[in-house]
Symmetry: C2
Subunit: 279 residues, 2 copies
């Protein structure tokens, strides 16, 4: 349930936030699963490396997708807001099957793409079937409310996290990445406690949430996803705590899901992966 | 243009953020204009005093609305999240012509109402014609992205303002209140610069933005509205500045509008009030 209610749209493309540091060479299962969703060998994918300040980020992902056998991969390095009105690049965006946003700084994405034809096209086309993935900063940027930056640690306090408007492909989840690696439960809890309508999704590195059109999340990757569900929150001191004081939250539900596990943000139902017969 | 694009809905009710400290006795023109929109003598209005910790806030506004001649005014003092499932109060909300949210602390509103049937009903009914006003904290809470708290001063820097998810009646504006009185241009610029898709609306005290279903804003009250339009932003250092460093923004458009002035967030057109023949 979003700040505004999202209407179920079966035509929507997959939305795939990735926790950063996804395996790229040995067994790139997340990138491969994304390519599969986009149509495998027939698929065309645009890479948006805007979050990164490194010049080779775009070309590097283009190579990775080519190695995974896509029909075409192309980097669209939007550097500034003027770039976001380039007809030739918008033409590419209007035709591809998938878009992949790299890591870096999510504020580079929101300040560069926000309010431009690129952001608008990504939303419009995703609602009509374009698949959109993002890793690290690219993952943070995907949802309606984005964690721009924050502090480490497990205990929430009001000035621990900075929220900003994101791309807005979905409003049902609030994503955080490098989750276990950077001790981010506190800042995700803080972000959720401001307005407990969304579901928190903490993504470990090399772990992705494949969000289906029906809002079911499927876990792919070597780590875990921490689902934080505040829908049964009984009480919170967020509105009365001083900014650096710890905040009390009563009634949070938490699920740790690994590869194959699922969670539906509408029904709030979590399912573990089926145990395999032998490992 | 929102993080997600808002679709023009001619059935939507008026959305009326007020900058706080509106005149209540001598010549309560803002409250009277709101009552007029709700149907005047025939109108029924629910007051939501949740933002306030004072017990008489609700009854006081009920009295004010009764003095303005409404058919019925009633206070719904949602104190906690359990209250937000009360069938009798939801029944009232489902029937009134207008809702008025008082001042106080906007985090009390978002943490108490967020994700509950009350928030959902306010969105659903506003999209079908319910008029919703809010003053001070009640104004901040109205939009998709809400300023939760922040610092004074004219120059933006990254940790100057805390955003949080709001009620989400509209995503086209980002509201700040007590604007001139508390020197809040810096924090509004900061909030906008994170993702320059929305229009900033800085409301002076005793001044309201009457937002029509077609997204035209009309100014009512004794002060001014500062409209901050970042749609032609050429460059921003928000993504690279350290958190307490000043941020450079090139290409912001600013309008100061007074009583009778209008601004349309879709066409970006501002119009001054027509000069009157004699004053």
């Amino acid at each position: 349930m979003s700040a505004r209610d999202f209407i179920h749209n079966p035509k929507r493309g997959w939305i795939v936030p990735i926790g950063g540091a996804e395996e790229k060479y040995r067994d790139p299962q997340i990138l491969r699963a994304f390519v599969d969703r986009c149509g495998g060998e027939k698929s065309t994918i645009a890479v948006i490396p805007t979050a990164s300040r490194l010049e080779d980020t775009g070309p590097r992902y283009v190579e990775l997708f080519e190695e995974l056998g896509v029909s075409r991969a192309i980097s669209l390095p939007f550097e500034n807001r003027q770039d976001c009105t380039r007809k030739d690049w918008l033409q590419v965006l209007s035709e591809v099957d998938g878009v992949f946003m790299t890591g870096g700084n999510q504020l580079r994405l929101s300040t560069t793409l926000g309010g431009t034809p690129v952001a608008r096209m990504l939303r419009d086309r995703n609602s009509e079937g374009l698949h959109v993935a993002g890793t690290s900063a690219g993952a943070a940027y995907i949802s309606e409310h984005m964690i721009a930056f924050g502090d480490e640690g497990p205990t929430p306090h009001a000035n621990m996290v900075q929220l900003a408007p994101g791309l807005g492909l979905t409003g049902t989840v609030l994503v955080d990445q490098h989750f276990r690696q950077r001790d981010r439960l506190g800042r995700l809890l803080t972000a959720l406690s401001f307005n407990p309508f969304a579901t928190g999704v903490g993504l470990d590195e090399d772990t992705a949430a494949f969000i289906a059109p029906d809002e079911t999340i499927e876990v792919v990757g070597s780590g875990a996803i921490t689902v934080v569900d505040p829908s049964e929150l009984e009480s919170s001191t967020m509105d009365s705590a001083k900014r650096s004081e710890p905040v009390s939250l009563i009634g949070i539900r938490l699920h740790i899901l690994i590869e194959g596990g699922t969670y539906n943000t509408q029904t709030r139902e979590a399912r573990a992966a089926r145990p395999t017969a032998a490992r």
